[in-house]
Symmetry: C3
C-alpha cells in the first residue's frame, strides 16, 4: 500500500503519544527523528553534549544519554560500533529496555561478530533488536522509499521484536522478521552488497563480448579491407554485434545447463549425493539464474538488431542493387523451395526459442516463482529450459545450414561465429542425451532419492 505523503503531521491530543529515544545526533539519527516526529512519536535525543546539539529537528528534546534513556523503553542506537563502549556505564538504566541497533559497517564481515551481537554482549540486560539499517537516511528524508520499504528485523526477544516491528509499520515501512539475533550478521552485510551473484555472469559476458567482437572485426572488417579494399567499418555498429550477441546468448544458455550435467556425472562417479560439490561448481549452480537472465538480455538485443535489418541504409542499398541486377539480367528467377524452407525454419525456430526464453525469464521473477511449487518450478526451468536450448541450437544449426562444414566460410582459418556458438550447446545436449539413456538414468534417479553405492 502506498503510504500517502498527506499523512497527518499533527496528532490528536487524545492519542497517547509514545516516546522514543534516539542515541546519536548524526545524519541517520536526525533523519529518523524527523520521520518519527512526522509519524506522531515524541522524540528524545540522547547526546554526549546535549547543549551542543543545535541542529536537531523542531519538537525534539535533547538530554544526556542517561536521562534520555530513562524517558523511553525503546532506545534507537544511531551511533557507530566503535563508540558503543560508553554503554557499559549505562547497564542499569538500559536493563530490560529495547535497544535497536541500526548500525552499518563499511565492509562485509568487518568484525568477527555482528554489531548487534556485540551490543548484546556489552549490555546483557537489554533486549537487542537489529533492524532499520537497510533504510537510507536520504530515503527517510525525501519519502522516496521505492526500493527499501522492506525492513529486516531480528532479535532473540520476541516481544521486543514485535514492538520494533510495530514502530517500523507506523513509519510506513514493512518489517520482515528474520528470526533470532544470529541473522544480524547477514542483515548487516546486506546493504553493503552490490549484485554479488551477478558478478560472474557480467564478467563472463564482458570477456566473451570483447574477444568475439575483435574476432569478428578481423574476419569482417580487416579481411574485407585487405582482400577487397572495401571500407566495411560501419559493420561494427550493427552487423558485428548481431553476430556476437547470439553467440553469447546461446553459450550462456548452455552454461546454465552445463553445471547440472556435470553434477550428475559427479554423482554417478561418487555413487552418492550426500558429498558436497566442489566450491566452483556450487557457486556456478547458485548463479545459474543470473547467467540465464544475462543470456536473455543478449537474446533480446539479438532479436531487435535482427528486426531492424530491413530499415538499415546499407541493407536497403544492397537489396536495391540485387533487384536492379535481376531486372537488368531479364532472367526468370524461380522460387527456390529449399531456401524458402530453410529461411522460414530458422526464423520460426528462433522466435519459438526466444518465446520460451522470455517465459523462463518471467517465471524467474520473484513474485512468479513464489506462486509455483517445487514440481512446477522444476518443470518450467528444466523441461522448458532444455526445450529452449534445443530450439535455439536448432535455430543456429539451420541458420548455418550447409555452410557450417564448408571450408570456404573460413577466413584466415577463422570459422564463422555460429560454428563457435554451437560448441558448448551441442556438448551439453549430447551429454544430457547420454544421461537420459535408461540404464544411466535409473542409477542417477536412485542416487538422487538417497541411495548410496558402497
Amino acid at each position: 500500500m502506498e503510504k500517502m505523503d498527506a499523512f497527518p503531521l499533527t496528532v490528536k491530543s487524545s492519542e497517547k503519544q509514545e516516546t522514543l529515544c534516539i542515541f546519536g545526533t548524526g545524519d541517520f539519527g536526525r533523519s529518523l527523528g524527523i520521520k518519527m516526529l512526522q509519524c506522531g512519536y515524541s522524540i528524545i535525543f540522547g547526546s554526549r553534549k546535549p547543549q551542543m546539539s543545535n541542529l536537531l529537528p523542531k519538537g525534539a528534546e535533547v538530554l544526556n544519554y542517561s536521562e534520555a534513556a530513562q524517558k523511553s523503553d525503546v532506545i534507537i542506537l544511531a551511533i557507530h560500533r566503535e563508540h558503543y563502549a560508553f554503554l557499559t556505564e549505562l547497564t542499569e538504566v538500559l536493563s530490560e529496555k529495547i535497544l535497536v541497533d541500526v548500525s552499518n559497517n563499511l565492509k562485509i564481515n568487518q568484525y568477527p561478530e555482528s554489531n548487534a551481537e556485540y551490543l548484546a554482549q556489552l549490555v546483557p540486560g537489554a533486549h537487542v533488536v537489529k533492524g532499520l539499517n537497510t533504510v537510507s537516511a536520504w530515503a527517510l528524508q525525501s519519502g522516496a522509499l521505492d526500493a527499501s520499504r522492506q525492513v529486516f528485523i531480528c532479535g532473540n526477544h520476541s516481544k521486543a521484536k514485535q514492538r520494533v516491528m510495530d514502530i517500523v509499520r507506523t513509519l510506513g515501512l514493512s518489517p520482515l522478521d528474520q528470526g533470532s539475533l544470529m541473522a544480524a550478521n547477514e542483515i548487516e552485510n546486506y546493504p553493503l552488497q552490490l549484485f554479488p551473484m551477478w558478478k560472474l555472469p557480467f564478467c563472463l559476458s564482458t570477456v566473451l563480448f570483447t574477444i568475439f567482437f575483435f574476432y569478428c572485426v578481423i574476419r569482417e572488417v580487416v579481411y574485407t579491407y585487405v582482400y577487397k579494399k572495401e571500407d566495411a567499418s560501419f559493420r561494427m555498429a550493427i552487423s558485428i554485434p548481431n553476430r556476437v550477441f547470439p553467440l553469447i546468448a546461446l553459450t550462456l544458455l548452455a552454461l546454465v545447463y552445463l553445471p547440472g550435467v556435470l553434477a550428475a556425472i559427479l554423482q554417478l562417479y561418487r555413487g552418492t549425493k550426500y558429498h558436497r560439490f566442489p566450491d566452483w561448481l556450487d557457486h556456478w549452480m547458485l548463479c545459474r539464474k543470473q547467467i540465464g537472465l544475462v543470456a536473455l538480455g543478449f537474446a533480446f538485443l539479438h532479436v531487435f538488431y535482427t528486426l531492424v535489418i530491413p530499415i538499415r541504409y546499407s541493407v536497403q542499398w544492397k537489396w536495391r542493387n540485387i533487384t536492379a541486377t535481376q531486372v537488368s539480367l531479364r532472367k526468370d528467377n524461380p522460387l527456390n523451395t529449399t531456401s524458402a524452407w530453410l529461411s522460414d525454419s530458422y526464423l520460426a525456430l528462433g522466435i519459438l526459442g526466444f518465446f520460451l526464453f522470455v517465459l523462463l525469464g518471467i517465471t524467474s521473477l520473484p513474485s512468479v516463482s513464489n506462486m509455483v511449487n517445487w514440481r512446477e518450478f522444476r518443470f518450467v526451468q528444466s523441461k522448458l529450459g532444455y526445450l529452449a536450448l534445443i530450439l535455439c541450437t536448432a535455430h543456429t544449426l539451420v541458420f548455418g545450414g550447409k555452410k557450417i562444414f564448408n571450408p570456404k566460410s573460413l577466413r584466415w582459418y577463422l570459422p564463422p561465429t555460429y560454428v563457435i556458438a554451437l560448441i558448448i550447446p551441442c556438448t551439453v545436449l549430447v551429454i544430457k542425451f547420454i544421461l537420459m539413456l535408461p540404464c544411466i538414468n535409473k542409477t542417477l534417479t536412485r542416487i538422487r532419492q538417497g541411495w548410496e553405492r558402497d
Copy 2:
C-alpha cells in the same frame, strides 16, 4: 534477501545450541538434518534401529524414538503417514511437544483427512504443526532454493507455530502462516499440483491450434498444389502459424470476457446474485487470467512472426518480382491513399491492441496486482481489457477489409481464418453492448448491489 552460502558453519560456543529431533532417517530426514546442522542446530535422529543407521550426517546422534524424543521439545516427523501408528506408544513422551508433520502424499486428497490432522488425532497431547513439506530434499541439499523459499506453516497452537516459524527462518526460508490445522489438507495437496489452472487454457489452445493448422494447410498448401501445381509447403513454417496464432489469441481473449457476459445474463434471468453459478461457469471464471495469459503468448508469437516478414527469403523474392514487373511495365504507379490508410490503420490498431494486452499481462503479475486495490484492478482488467478486445477485433476487421464478405476468398467453401477469428469476439462485444444499454444495465447494477427480484 539472498541467504549467502558463506553462512558460518561453526557456531560460537557462547550461543545456546538448540537441539532438534528428527524421526526418520530417509532422504528427506537426512537432508533436513544436514541443513540444520549447517545452520547451527544440534540434531538427534530417532530411528527404529539406531545401530543400523550408519549413513547419517557427521555430528548427528542416533537414538531410538523414545530416547530421542526426550532430548528435544521439537520433533520433526520425516516418516510416511502409513508408519505413524507406532507414535501411539510414545503418547506420554510426546505430550506437550511440538510435532512437525513434513509428510507428503502421492495423490491429491489421498486420505479423507490430512496427514497432520490424522497425526493430531493419534497424539492428542502434542502440538501438531504442518510445514516444510513444500521444500524439496534436493533443494535443501544443494542450496538452490530459488523456487521454494516460501514455506507454508499451519497449526492450532500459536506458540508452537511461532517456534517452528523461527526454525524455518534460521534455515534461510520464509515461513508463511496459513492459519489453523484445517489448512493442512491444502498444504499437503500443494506440492502435488502441476499447474491445475493452466490445464483448460493449454488443452483448449492445443486443440484449436491443431484444428486450424490443418484447416490452413488444406486452404493454402493442398489447394495451391491441386489448382496451381505449386509447392507451397514452406508456408507451414511461418505463414500458416501466423494465421493460426492471431486466430487463437483473439478467440482466447474473447473467451476471457465471455463468462462475465454469461454470468450477467444468468443473474438477469435469475433476478439475484446469491445463487451459485453452474460449476463449469465457475471454473471458467476462475481460470480467466490463465486464458488471457495464453492468449498473450499467442499474440507475442503473432507479433514476431509478423515482424520477420521482410527478412524472409520467400517474401524478398516476391517483392523483387513485383518491383521487376513494375519496372518492365514502365507504368506509373500512383499511391493508393485508401490502401495506405487501410494498411497503416490495421498495423496501428494491432500495435495498440498488443500494447494494452502486454499491460494487462504485467498487471496480472502477482506483485503488481498486490499493489492495486479492487477498484484499480477492475478498471485495468475490465475497462482496459475490453479496450484491448475492441482494438484487436478492429485490427482483424480492417485487415480483412473488403475481402471479408467477398465469396472469392473462399477456397473449397472454406473462409479465411480472420473471418473465423471474428466470430466469438464480435458476439461478446455485441452482447456486452446490449448489457450496457441503460435499462438493462440499471437492473444488473441493482442485482449486483444485493437487490433480489421475487
Copy 3:
C-alpha cells in the same frame, strides 16, 4: 498459494465449530456470511428487525443485536458509520469483545477521524480491529479474488488483531498487519483510490500527445496539402504518432531526472538538506517512477511503430519507386559509408537505450525492487537510468544528424519534432554534468551526508 474452490463445504462434527457474529444484513454482510459458512464457521446475524430478514444464507441464524452479540466474541460490523450510534446501548454486551470494522466511506478523508477510531471512542470497552474493507463483496461471492487476496488489518489490541488475522487466513486471504489503529484512516482511504500517483504522468502525456499530434499534422499533412496538393492524411495513422511517441518518451525520461537535478541545486543554494522541498517538487519526485513507466510505454510503441515500417503499403510503394528510378537511370549507386554509419549508429543507440529502459522498467516491479538493497537500487535507477537517457538522447541526435541545424527542415518556421525532443534531455544532461564537476560535487556530497552551511 491458490485456494482451491473445492474447499470442503461440510465441516466434520469433531471440529469445534467457531461462531462468528455479523451485525448488518446488507450485501457485504450477506456475502461475508456465505463465505464464512463455506469456510466452516457458524454464523449469527445481528439485525434491527430479525424477523424481517428473509434473504439470509441458509444455515445462518438471525437474532437481535444484543442476543447475537452474546453468542460470539468476534463481531463483524457490516453497517455504515452513520448507523453506529445504536452501539452505545450495547456497551456492556460488547465489553472485551472483538469488533471488526469493515466499513468504507464514499470519499477520501470524509470524516475528521477514521470510522474505526470513531468506533473505538463509541465503545471504549471493546477491542476494535480495522480490516476486510478492501475486499469486494462481489469477489467474496465469486471466488475471483485475484486482486484482493491481501487484506490490511490494524488495531491496538495485539491478540484481537491476531484472532482476526486467523479468521482472514481461514477465508483464504492474506492478512497484512499494518500496526495500530492510527493506520485505519489510510486503510479506509485505500479502496477509494484510483491510481493517484499516475494522474500527473497520464495528464502530462495526454496534453503533450495532443499538442504535438496537431503540430505534426500541420507540418506534414496541411503543409504538404497546401504546397504539393498531395493527400498525406494517411500519415496520421503511423508516421505522425511515430514522431510524437519518441518525443514524449524522451521528454518524460528527462523529466524523471530533472527533479533530482533541481533538488541538488536547491540543496546547494540552501546549504542544507534538512529543509523540506517545495510541495510541487516533492510530489514530482514521488511520481518519478510512474513518469518513467509511462515513458517506457511510449518507447515501446515507438519501437513497434518503427519495426512495422517495411510492411507498410506506403513504404513499400516508395521503396519500389526508388528502385525503379535507380534502374531506369542505369546509374551506378555506390554505398555511402557515412550514411551507413549514421543509419546503423542511430538504430544501435536506440536499441541499446530501449534495452536499458526495459531493464529499468523490470527493476521497478515491486517484487524485483524488494530483492535489491538501497545501494543496488540507486545503482540501477541512477547510473543505468542516466546511461539510458544519454543513449536515447544520442539516438535522437544521430537521427537528426546534419539536418538538426539546417533551416531547410523548418516548415512554416516549425522545427521537426526531434529538435524539440532534445531540449529537456540536453538541459538535464548539461546541468548534471556541471553538478558532477569535482568542486560542486564535493559540496553536494557533504550536504547530503548531513553537513550544513551557516
